[in-house]
């Protein structure tokens, strides 16, 4: 026990551990346990029927597919945004930096409505895409756009610190050794940033899977086409089918947990390779 005690500004190891456990239990574990229990109260056959219904399957596809697409887009663009903010100094950089956080603060319903207005067939952007046959609002594309918007800050904020940390010396060293800028990017900068990029991706993905507010406005909610799983859960609730809702919730919980856990494993492996190297 003695070994765990570290001097700290906060009083008492026992007290803080107790507090942490209490908080986690009360706010995270208990509700989740309730969800699992509720789902467990169904018979196996009922459960399977609910979670494998064609409508549910298509909603998984959209929820996880669009989230994955949005997180990937964010990983690329978030990296570019972070790079611009870290490496260059230009007028308005601070303002741009502050704007990155706006999707955090905005009520998601507001961003959903705004996106719908802009991407609708007669909206600012939608009217130019329409002639090419590209429809954004009320399609899976719209869902992806909404999920991209809310996920962007996660990637930018995760990558920024690690980009700051890439020493200019490393790039200089690679350059004197004959590496081209692209080679330096691929072999020196990217490997250093990948852990942060992965955690940004994870956060953006997790957030997108759970997103509800902004999507329901832009998706149009057509059953089997643009219906996300969280919406399906809400529909079940409105039909007083609490068990069905719990079952779908349980599936989402399980899938999210498996994905996040495996990403964490990959990250931990990557970190081990770099551990202690920051001397």
């Amino acid at each position: 026990m003695q070994g765990f005690r570290q001097p700290s500004v906060l009083p008492g190891f026992g007290l803080t551990l107790g507090f942490a456990t209490f908080f986690l239990s009360g706010i995270v574990l208990l509700p989740l346990a309730a969800l699992v229990l509720k789902a467990a109260s169904m018979s196996w056959a009922d459960f399977v029927a609910v979670v494998t219904s064609p409508r549910a399957l298509s909603s998984y596809r959209l929820s996880f597919g669009a989230s994955l697409a949005a997180a990937l887009v964010n990983t690329v663009f978030g990296f570019i945004v972070a790079w611009t903010l870290v490496r260059y100094d230009f007028p308005g950089r601070k303002i741009l930096d502050a704007m990155i956080d706006l999707p955090f603060a905005l009520p998601t319903a507001v961003s959903g409505i705004a996106l719908t207005a802009v991407f609708a067939e007669n909206g600012w952007i939608g009217q130019y895409l329409e002639p090419y046959g590209i429809k954004v609002a009320y399609t899976w594309l719209g869902v992806t756009v909404a999920l991209t918007l809310i996920g962007l800050p996660f990637v930018v904020r995760s990558v920024q610190p690690s980009l700051l940390e890439v020493q200019r010396d490393l790039e200089d060293a690679a350059e004197t050794l004959g590496a081209t800028p692209f080679y330096i990017f691929r072999r020196i900068i990217l490997p250093t940033v990948v852990p942060a990029l992965a955690s940004g991706f994870t956060l953006a993905f997790a957030r997108a899977v759970g997103e509800y507010g902004s999507v329901i406005f832009i998706s149009g909610n057509l059953p089997m086409k643009t219906e996300i799983t969280p919406l399906l859960i809400v529909i079940k609730l409105e039909e007083f089918d609490y068990n069905g809702a719990a079952a779908l919730g349980f599936v989402m919980l399980a899938m999210s947990f498996v994905m996040l856990f495996s990403i964490n494993l990959v990250q931990a492996w990557g970190r081990r390779r770099l551990v202690g190297a920051r001397a």
Binding site: Q167, D172, E175, T176, R187, T192, L274, G276, A277
Partner: protein
């Protein structure tokens, strides 16, 4: 020559960080660039590697002009102070990096990797990660990595900076032996003079962006040309002495002041006495060497092999020349070996005679500063001039005042000040300057009130020829001023082509003389127009400029140049 730098200049926010550096490093030579932090040595090294662009000048590697070539194509090896190893790669991958970039075959890469690991004494460490190595080992890997692509030039930027003393010494030996074995031209940057002596075939000492001197370690140690090199390479006492000397340059034959001055003038010189070259004895007669003066032992430190003493010179020893009582005290640092200590044991407070085994007179013509004013207040204002104070501190020299009331036709004037006379700019300035010059005082520095440290120094010769003395003073001053300098030639407008060509040639001659004689590189510019108007325009064009005006002959200020001294707001002018 394998590395040639020609007037390389790098500015940062308008200040020259590297200021007109010219240097040639021979093939296979180990050259050490030495200087305090902020002297521009690292910037210069990065410029050679192509990691920093230069604003002016040319860099040549093995006869190939690489000034515009990127670092990637310069074929140099660079070692950084913080190793800069790729942490996500193994030692082997790090070393192979340059070969992989060049798409060498795997077998060749492995062969080269083994060879290099063998060379730096880390054979078998291929699969370690940099984080698993000690600092010294990491730096060895960095050296091996820099050598993998067989560069023609190896550049090391403070490679031992982050290591402790013992490992430092070991790594120093490794680098020296690797360099000898490969015969690769090497430049190493350091601020540690011991390291520089231990490694360098030749040293270059930098300060304030300028390369002050370059030469063999022993040469620079025993016969430095500048104050900075004298005091930066080991400990040194800089002593001001008066010496009757025939002036280096007495102007054109028959010049009206030359003869009178040579007879009257005793020159003040700056001499360097190394602590180990001083001898202490109970009295003057028991000294084995030439007598310098008497002094009291003020401090005494035992440091093992050597004893360090600080001796305060007594006034009667140094003030035979009637210098005023305001002369600041002079301390002499002395080191003595064990046998010397046994022969003459000392304790603080003891009066001793100081002798000099070997004293080296620095060829600098600017010895000390004497502020000349008619009132005490005027003198104090000049003494309080920030830039003058800074300059004197940089030159580690004396700054004193001499008050001379009235225009002084009554009675014998006091002895003319030694060294540089400093007068305030403005109203009565030209007359005062003329009076000083007539009494054989050169140079004279004219300072306007609130002088800003100049960022640009314009050098102009009022006469037909550039006198050697002027050049020497220019060189001496520029070594202590972090400013860009330009030789400005002015020809009457409408000069025929032939005159103009001759003018350009003359300027270039001056430049090469400054370079050959003083190791000072200065740019040249030629203008057409009226001399005074052109100078006024040049100096008025931007603030923070200074003028060095070469007098046509010693002691003579031509009439029309007075306008340059009375302008307000003015600029510092050195009449030399």
């Amino acid at each position: 020559m394998s590395i040639t730098l020609d007037q390389v200049t790098k500015q940062y926010q308008g200040n020259p960080v590297v200021n007109d550096v010219s240097l040639a490093v021979a093939e296979g030579e180990f050259f050490v660039l030495l200087g305090p932090s902020g002297s521009g040595k690292s910037t210069l090294l990065r410029a050679i590697a192509g990691l920093t662009e230069v604003d002016h000048g040319r860099i040549t590697l093995f006869g190939r002009d690489v000034t515009q070539v990127s670092a990637r194509e310069r074929e140099v090896g660079f070692v950084f102070q913080n190793y800069a190893l790729f942490r996500h790669m193994t030692v082997g991958e790090n070393i192979e990096f340059a070969l992989r970039v060049r798409r060498e075959k795997a077998a060749e890469r492995v062969r080269r990797r083994k060879e290099l690991l063998e060379l730096i004494g880390l054979a078998g460490m291929d699969d370690r990660l940099p984080s698993q190595l000690s600092g010294g080992q990491q730096q060895r890997v960095a050296v091996a990595r820099a050598l993998a692509h067989k560069p023609k030039v190896l550049l090391l930027d403070e490679p031992f900076g982050a290591l402790d003393a013992k490992i430092r010494e070991e790594l120093r030996r490794t680098i020296r032996s690797v360099q000898r074995e490969l015969g690769i031209t090497t430049i190493l940057v350091t601020h540690d003079q011991e390291e520089a002596f231990a490694l360098g075939d030749r040293l270059g000492v930098m300060n304030l962006g300028r390369l002050l001197e370059a030469g063999r370690p022993t040469e620079l140690y025993s016969r430095p040309a500048t104050r900075f090199v004298a005091t930066f390479l080991g400990a040194a006492n800089l002593i001001l002495r008066r010496e009757a000397r025939v002036p280096v340059d007495s102007g054109p034959p028959g010049g009206r002041h030359a003869v009178a001055m040579a007879a009257r003038r005793e020159q003040e010189v700056v001499a360097m006495l190394r602590p180990e070259e001083a001898e202490l004895a109970p009295d003057r007669d028991s000294l084995m060497t030439s007598f310098l003066g008497y002094g009291h032992v003020e401090e005494l430190q035992f440091t093992g092999a050597l004893e360090r003493l600080r001796v305060r010179m007594s006034a009667e020893g140094s003030a035979q020349d009637g210098a005023s009582a305001t002369t600041p005290p002079v301390w002499i640092d002395v080191t003595r070996t064990q046998p010397e200590q046994r022969a003459f044991p000392l304790s603080p407070g003891r009066l001793v005679a100081i002798g000099t085994r070997r004293i080296h007179v620095l060829p600098t013509p600017l010895s000390s500063f004497t502020v000349c004013a008619e009132t005490r207040e005027g003198a104090d204002r000049l003494l309080g001039n920030h830039w003058l104070g800074e300059l004197a501190a940089r030159m580690q020299t004396r700054l004193t005042a001499q008050v001379e009331p009235g225009t002084g036709d009554h009675g014998e004037p006091p002895a003319p000040p030694a060294g540089v006379a400093v007068v305030a700019a403005g109203e009565g300035c030209p007359a005062r300057v003329r009076r000083l010059l007539e009494r054989g005082v050169t140079p004279v520095l004219v300072l306007p009130e609130d002088t800003e440290p100049p960022a640009r120094v314009v050098v102009h010769f009022a006469g037909q020829v550039a006198r050697r003395a002027t050049l020497a003073m220019t060189a001496s001053l520029l070594r202590h001023v972090p400013a860009e300098a330009v030789f400005l030639g002015i020809l009457p407008s409408g000069s025929p082509e032939r005159t103009r060509t001759a003018g350009v040639r003359q300027l270039l001659d001056v430049r090469s003389e400054a370079q050959a004689g003083h190791g000072l590189d200065v740019r040249t510019e030629l203008r057409l127009g009226d001399r005074i108007e052109e100078l006024l325009r040049e100096l008025g064009s931007q603030p923070g400029q200074m003028l060095i005006l070469g007098l046509p002959e010693p002691g003579l200020l031509p009439e029309n140049f007075e306008a340059l001294l009375t302008r307000s707001p003015g600029w510092p002018v050195l009449l030399a």
